[in-house]
């Protein structure tokens, strides 16, 4: 199991989501992708996308105005 970080700070929707989907394609089953973002809508969009596609997902607000989204490839 690998953990891959994806730095999407200061990037606007929908770029982080597109980057994350591309990165997830490269990962293997069980690997975890951590998306770092400073836009609240990125987390919302990621969670929505992950739930629709049956990925395990967790959204954490790490500090003021900053989020980490954990997505595990099934």
């Amino acid at each position: 199991m690998k953990v891959r970080d994806l730095d999407c700070l200061y990037e606007a929707c929908p770029i982080p989501l597109i980057k994350a989907i591309k990165e997830l394609r490269r990962l293997n089953s069980g690997d975890i992708l951590v998306v770092h973002s400073d836009e609240s809508c990125v987390g919302v969009a990621m969670v929505e996308w992950a739930e629709q596609n049956n990925y395990q997902v967790k959204l954490v607000e790490t500090e003021v105005g900053e989020w980490e989204i954990y997505v595990q490839k099934p």
Binding site: L9, P14, I15, S40, V64, G65, E66
Partner: protein, 187 residues
């Protein structure tokens, strides 16, 4: 009894924080924006618009360095919109400016209440370049259409403006093409 009161008090604050922090559903935002736009029109006689204020700033800036943009054909076409402001020399501070300041202040209050305020940064030169290019293209486009998403679409449709429907079709097509280009070539 005091304890109970305290407990409920904290609960209330907690749900209030949740309500301020969590994004509201799209339909709530839509209804609110619609109602607020009607209120704005009823009070001030102007519908919500964004880029027309920026246009005046840009033209005002050009005037400061010696151009005469208000003599251009464009301002003859949109005479009814800007004549009063130009004649009164309110290029930089006018109703459009107040609307735009309101948007910034409102967003600031909302993000502070959610305690999610954070200043953005440019990541690298490419980031700056694309932001500049995007701004330039959107600005130019908004002049061709007489407004942006807000002025031409959001305020246009309820005013029974046919051009808002044309704008809607083409902005949808444009967003689709733009997303394709973004996915294929830029990310």
């Amino acid at each position: 009894m005091f304890k109970n009161h305290n407990y409920y008090g904290k609960d209330w604050i907690k749900s209030m924080m949740q309500w301020l922090k969590k994004p509201w559903p799209y339909w709530v935002g839509g209804v609110l924006l619609g109602v607020l736009n009607v209120v704005l029109l009823a009070i001030s006689g102007t519908v919500w618009q964004v880029t027309n204020g920026f246009l005046l700033w840009g033209a005002g800036a050009l005037e400061l360095v010696g151009f005469e943009p208000f003599k251009w054909e464009y301002f003859k076409l949109y005479n009814n919109r800007y004549e009063e402001i130009i004649l009164n020399h309110n290029i930089f501070i006018n109703k459009y400016t107040i609307l735009n300041i309101g948007v910034v202040l409102g967003s600031l209050v909302a993000t502070l209440l959610a305690s999610q305020f954070k200043l953005g940064k440019a990541k690298n030169i490419r980031h700056i370049l694309f932001a500049f290019l995007g701004g330039l293209m959107m600005g130019y486009g908004s002049r061709l259409t007489g407004g942006c998403n807000i002025g031409s679409f959001f305020s246009g449709i309820p005013s029974f403006s046919l051009h808002a429907w044309v704008f809607w079709i083409f902005i949808t097509l444009g967003a689709w093409v733009g997303t394709r280009i973004l996915i294929k070539f830029l990310i």
